[in-house]
Amino acid sequence: MGQKITIEPVTRVEGHGKVTIHLNNEGKIEQTRLHIVEFRGFERFVQGRPYWEMPVLVQRLCGICPVSHHLAAAKALDVIVGAGTGDGLTPTGEKMRRLMHYGQMFQSHSLHFFHLASPDLLFGVDSDPIKRNIIGVALANKDLAVQGVMMRKYGQEVIKVTAGKKIHGTGAIPGGINKHLTEEERDYLLHGDDYMNIDKMISWSQDALEFFKDYHKNNKAIIDHFAEFPSSYLSLVRKDGALDLYHGVLRAVDSEGKKILHDVDYQEYDRYIDEEVKSWSYMKFPYLKEIGKKTGWYSVGPLARMNTVEFIDTPLAQKEFEQFRKYNGGKPSNKTMHSHWARLIEILHSAEKIKELLNDPDLMEGELVTRGTKKLEGVGLIEAPRGTLFHQYKIGENDMITMANLIVSTTNNNQPMNEAVNQVAVKVMTGQKEITEGMMNAVEVAIRAYDPCLSCATHALGQMPLEFEVYDAYNNLIDRKFKH
């Protein structure tokens, strides 16, 4: 008799999820699905609100990367107020926003690597869950834990001086920003006491990369071959091919590195990308229209960015990028666990960018806002920590929102996560009579590599524990395990 196994809740991810594993009559895995079962409805209830409220309202989707939603919405509204499509702001407006964004990238990636991912690396996928968490990390490797906490704090401080608050600020407004950086704020971040200064952050970012590379040397099987599968990759890239987390053109490459989306203007993203709805998940499945629903899916996020860009415009991160590309033979890395490597390169890049911006006098003086001829529709894209984030708004003649469409990073990663889950489940669960903690965590490790934010992805409401369920061929529930 066929079976279905469900893993719920999926832990150490932002939000909540459920995995079901469907077995056939021979007990072999037929299909594995990552279900996202929350529902929130932001796209609907922002309708009828004034457009300039969007950056402040929609960032409430998330407490981890509100800045990404804040800025993507502001970028969409820049178009609406006639301030250009991402490159028309005043130098102060654009640079303050970039500083906010790099602060966000720095804190979110640090949170993920140190708090969520490092327990798996330090203790192993099937180690005792009592130990396999950030407290366990603190006990086993105090320096690593302190670095994680302080790096996150530093990123949050950068957000505070640009957005007014560490979480859910108001800095970006349509057409620009609402404040300058003060000399005091700049000096605090540039030359603050130990540890709170940018040089320390850069050096810690390098240490984290060394830690990972050491681990990689001794654990090639897990880093190079755990949940390895071919995928296409999509991200914004700067027009000259450089990594740019704030603005650029849309590029996608296939698993071999061939361009399949040729640096297009994202204002017309809906000409190239569509979303499919499946009955078993509230999370949609985006795909490239030209390639089609079946194989047009793609990955986004740090790994995708390392696979689409040609270079990084900060020296230390560029060196690391060159090593990364060389290791992968100059081709895209299709190794899910390389996401962690890519994420660490971006932490270093963000720190370097923060330093560059803090030394820029434009942050401290100059026009904050610019406006031009109003339009009734705008699209804003940004490379959020977890990948490309799409915000689209339409307004009526009376300035109220009539339509909103959000494709968040985790939604873009929906199919890749399902692929990864399936790969791992087939590997660790086939022929097993009982679901063990180690098996469940292995599946989670694959999901966790994407650093998914499941509540963002569904714009969700309420609790979502991770549950694993096993169903037989007749869809009868035969086993169920919870993880909290």
Binding site: G48, R49, P50, W52, E53, P55, V56, L57, R60, V81, A163, G164, K165, H168, G169, T170, G171, I173, P174, N178, K179, N398, D399, M400
Partner: protein
Amino acid sequence: MSQFVKFTIDTIECMATRGQYLVDAARENGIFIPTLCNYPGVKPKGSCRICTVKVNGKLMTACTTPVAEGMNVENESAEINDLRKSIIELLFVEGNHFCPACEKSGSCELQALAYRFKMLVPRFPFQFPYRSVDASHPKIIKDHNRCILCKRCIRAITDDSGRSIFAYRKRGIGVEVVVDPKLGKQLTDELAQKAMDICPVGSILVKEKGFNVPIGARRYDKSPIGSDIESMQISKI
């Protein structure tokens, strides 16, 4: 008869000009009596009741009661403060006040008073009424979700001939403040901004200007409501 009168607020001796309203007299003596419908320079109405005090043991609204010689006023007692807190809670549950995305957050008098009176969870059930947002005027948005019907705008925003540009519409529980359709064109940019500033909540919004004031520079970011008045009392001591 002397031009001045002596009275006490919470046993503190005060002096004021005869005929002055209690709320203004208290302010001049460095004592804060909270208000919502009252606004300096606008004829008092006494409708929100937040300024309720006990005058010689009797509950009265401080914004409509003139001071008199020998008055004993009770302002900061547990009983009075709980009464005020309950009014704030009623206002919160009666409308739809979502501070996180409101651009008046940090500059909102209702929110500032809720902080002052340490409102955490209202004791009354939320009503979640269906209310609309009227964006038909070219200069302002009237968000009925947040309106507390204080009538400040009706009383203060007038055209050159003194006619109110804002007006009540409908009756009873459905009453709402709207721009008078006949006088809407008289609402200049200056008056629109004045209307937004005078609104104690975020119900009147000037179009396309949201969130220009950064966090940290908003009205109550540095000094909570009433603290400016109370600092006068401290310096007097």
